[in-house]
C-alpha cells in the first residue's frame, strides 16, 4: 500500500487518475481503517486528503455554508452558528459513532463510504446539500442524492474526489430535523433514518423535502412524502398521508436489526416525528 499526502486537489486528482489497483481516499479513516484491518479492502493507493489547503474549514458561502472535506463531526457540533441554522444535519452527523469516532469522522466519508444506513446522508438530501466533485475534466456540482448508486458504490469516476460540501442558505421560516431508530441509545447502525427539511408561511408548509435512509440500497428522496405535507398545516390527516407515503417508499431488507414489515412501519412513525420537529423548529405550532 502506497500512502500519499497531496497538498492540492490537482495533485490528489493526478495521483488518483494514474493509480493502479484499488484506490481509497483517507479522510477520518473510520471506515477505511476498519475495512483495511478486517482485510475487506486493502487499498493499493491510499490518498490522505487532510493536507490539502482549506479542507479543515467551515465557511460562509452565498449565505449558506461550505464544509471542508476534512472537517470532523466534532468540529461541526462545536461550530457556533451551524447548528442554529441546520440542526438536522449537525445532529445527524453527531449520531455517527462515539466521541472518539466524532473526533475523526467526516460528512464526505460518511457519504462516499456508500452505506445505505449512513446517518448524515438523509439529512443532507433533505436539506438540499450538494457537493463539488473535482476530477481530471474539471469540477462539477452534484446533488448528494446522486452520489451513492448502490451499497458501497458511488457515481464518482476514476480520478475524481469530492472537494467541498455545500449547504444551501437557510432562509427564513424554515428548519430541518433528522431522527433514526436504533435498538439502543448509542453506538448502533440505523434501522431506519429520516430527514425532513421544510419552510412555512404562517401555518402552511410551502416547501418540503423528506429523505429516508436504511430502507433501500441507497438513501431515498421521497417526493410523495413531501407532497403529503406541502400546502398543509401538518394536521393529523397530513401526518397520516406522510406516514403512508414514507412506508410505501421503502424497499428494505430483512436482517437481524429489523424485518421488512418493521422497517416500513418505523419509516412512517419516524417521518411523522421528524416532520413535527422540523415544523416546530421553523416556528410553527401544531
Amino acid at each position: 500500500m502506497q500512502y500519499h499526502t497531496p497538498g492540492s486537489f490537482e495533485d490528489a486528482i493526478a495521483i488518483a487518475s494514474f493509480a493502479e489497483g484499488v484506490t481509497r481516499f483517507l479522510a477520518g479513516g473510520t471506515d477505511v481503517l476498519v475495512q483495511l484491518r478486517a482485510d475487506i479492502v486493502t487499498p493499493d493507493n491510499l490518498i490522505d486528503v487532510k493536507h490539502i489547503d482549506g479542507v479543515t474549514k467551515i465557511e460562509r458561502e452565498d449565505s449558506g455554508w461550505r464544509i471542508g472535506i476534512a472537517v470532523s463531526g466534532a468540529e461541526m457540533s462545536e461550530h457556533p452558528d451551524l447548528h442554529n441554522e441546520w440542526p438536522g444535519i449537525v445532529e445527524a452527523m453527531d449520531l455517527v459513532g462515539s466521541t472518539q469516532i466524532q473526533g475523526r469522522a467526516t460528512l464526505t466519508g460518511n457519504l462516499c463510504n456508500g452505506s445505505p444506513a449512513a446517518d448524515s446522508v438523509p439529512a443532507m438530501i433533505a436539506a438540499g446539500v450538494s457537493v463539488s466533485v473535482a476530477g481530471p475534466n474539471g469540477t462539477r456540482k452534484v446533488a448528494v442524492e446522486d452520489i451513492p448508486v448502490a451499497p458501497g458504490r458511488t457515481s464518482l469516476e476514476k480520478g475524481e474526489l469530492i472537494s467541498a460540501v455545500h449547504i444551501p442558505a437557510r432562509g427564513s421560516d424554515g428548519a430541518d430535523a433528522y431522527l433514526r431508530f436504533i435498538p439502543r441509545t448509542e453506538m448502533d447502525i440505523a434501522v431506519v433514518g429520516c430527514g425532513v427539511n421544510l419552510r412555512r408561511d404562517g401555518k402552511t408548509i410551502t416547501e418540503a423535502r423528506v429523505s429516508l435512509g436504511a430502507v433501500a440500497p441507497t438513501a431515498l428522496l421521497v417526493e410523495e412524502a413531501a407532497e403529503a405535507i406541502i400546502g398543509t398545516a401538518l394536521d393529523d390527516a397530513a401526518l397520516e398521508t406522510l406516514a403512508a407515503a414514507a412506508s410505501a417508499a421503502c424497499n428494505p431488507i430483512d436482517d437481524k436489526r429489523g424485518t421488512i414489515k418493521f422497517r416500513k412501519h418505523v419509516a412512517g412513525v419516524l417521518a411523522r416525528r421528524t416532520a413535527k420537529i422540523a415544523y416546530e423548529r421553523a416556528g410553527a405550532s401544531i
Binding site: Y3, L33, A38, K50, Q100
Partner: protein, 159 residues
Amino acid sequence: MSMVHVTATVNDDEVEFLCDPRETLLDVLRDRLGLTGAKEGCGTGDCGACSVTVDGRLVCSCLMLGAEAEGKSIATVEGIADGENLHPLQEKFIEHAALQCGICTPGILVATKALLEKNPDPTETEVRYWLAGNLCRCTGYDKIIRAVMDTASDLRKAS
C-alpha cells in the same frame, strides 16, 4: 514496502519512527515506542481501549495510521501522572475501585481527562454519553461514573 518516516510529539517528547504505511498509531505506540498503556480491545473503533488524544482531540488510535501522526501532538495514559504523583482521576479510580481487569482503564482515563478539560462540570448523563465508546466488561460502569463525578467535583473545588 517502503517505510514512512514520521516525527511527532508523544506526551511532550519528540519522537521519530519508521513505520509500514498500514500500521496503525496503536501498533506504533505499542510496538515501536514501547508505550503499552493503550490497549487493543477490538481494533475496529468499538471499545475505546486504544483511546489517545491527537492535538487535544480524543480518537481511537486503532483507527488512525502511524503515518498520519506526522507533526501531531499525541497524549497517552503514560503522560497522565506527574512523575510518581497520580492524576486526581487515577486516584479516584483506585479509591472507588473503578477497575477490575484494567484493560479498559487507560482508555477511560484518557477519555475522561479530555472530557473534564472540555467540560469541568458534566452531568452524569453527559459523562455516560461521552464514554459510550469506551466499553468495560467488568465493572458495570457505575463505579467509573462515580469516580469521574467525584474527580470533577474535587477539581472544581480546587480551582
